[in-house]
Homo-oligomer: 200 residues x 2
């Protein structure tokens, strides 16, 4: 006996999500058979409206409901500084702490030759266009501290400096995360913590 077609289709859809294997997909699909139909319809609507009701900000490439987004159109924010992140989720992490008052730029990925992602697949050109702004003083590169994130940072520094040599380019501070155990820190993290030491 085969699994009924409507269920099989849903299992297939779940399997396409990252981190969801065939067993989890099956479990989720069969779970949904037991939920009220209204919940199913809400879920379906949320999915089909996802792209319809969201816009990519033409300035910072963040995903939001308006264009330009609420941050880019906020007059109170410091327009002389741009923080560059890989994903919209990274931007939200910074906004949650609420200490950063500048603008953002969202690359939507990092340079990864193994996955065939070069600078052209990211919103790098849009960033370089923003760099030409004379009022701009600093760009903070906050890509992830991974191989791909570091490569992207390197590439961006070179590109930004080539376009506007007066702008200051900084990278997020690297070192021991708060609450970590020094004993278990890896070599690279320790080396960076020493390099990044500050007078107190």
């Amino acid at each position: 006996m085969k699994i009924a077609k409507p269920i099989a289709l849903l299992i297939e859809a779940f399997e396409k999500l990252p981190g969801v294997g065939p067993k989890t997909a099956q479990r989720l699909a069969f779970y949904l058979l037991h939920v009220p139909n209204s919940q199913l319809q809400e879920f379906a609507e949320a999915l089909s409206d996802l792209k319809k009701n969201t816009k990519l900000c033409s300035v910072c490439k963040n995903v939001g409901e308006e264009d330009p987004c609420l941050i880019c159109s906020d007059k109170a924010r410091d327009r002389s500084i741009i923080l560059v992140v890989e994903q919209p989720l990274d931007l939200i992490a910074f906004e949650k702490i609420g200490r950063y008052k500048g603008l953002y730029h969202c690359l939507h990925g990092s340079i990864s030759p193994l996955d065939n992602i070069g600078p052209d697949e990211l919103y790098v050109d849009d960033l370089i266009r923003r760099v030409k702004d004379k009022a701009l003083k600093e760009i903070i590169i906050a890509t992830n501290p991974t191989m791909e994130g570091e490569a992207t940072a390197m590439y961006l520094v070179k590109k930004i400096k080539g376009e506007n040599s007066k702008v200051k380019v900084t990278r997020l501070g690297m070192g021991i995360p708060t609450g970590a155990d020094l004993e278990y820190a890896d070599e690279v993290t320790l080396t960076r913590a020493i390099e990044g030491r500050r007078e107190i």
Copy 2:
């Protein structure tokens, strides 16, 4: 800054799934921003069609596309034996091995007083109605070997015997699973393996 409404709605929908926490839900929703719109629409359709295009078999309560389901309407199957499972997924596990040729009955859960699930919330009455059939020779109870599954099995035996004392009621064989290490088997499993020993 808040997450855009359409994304927040989708995160909420994902969070309602079992085993999906707030972080996973966020990751899945933002991942879906990057997939082609056609894939999103297929996913949404699979969800909204799930209940529309599936039927509960009026005989065995399995979920399928027809009523009665393909198994119940299959003339080649042995109608003198019913295997009782908790969930449609359990039924599929038995069908995959293809050795069982009788009918099924799907309870859609197990008796669990802590979750307020009693026999009335399951398809027990439908099973008892089937038990009255004179042609029926055996009922195999294949609920899970958990507290709830065992309690359900106990309850079913009493109910079935009260309705039709001639029908044989059996429980799945319990013991060491194939490939397991005796050393790590728990006490209950070992006790049941001794109780369930067979001459070779």
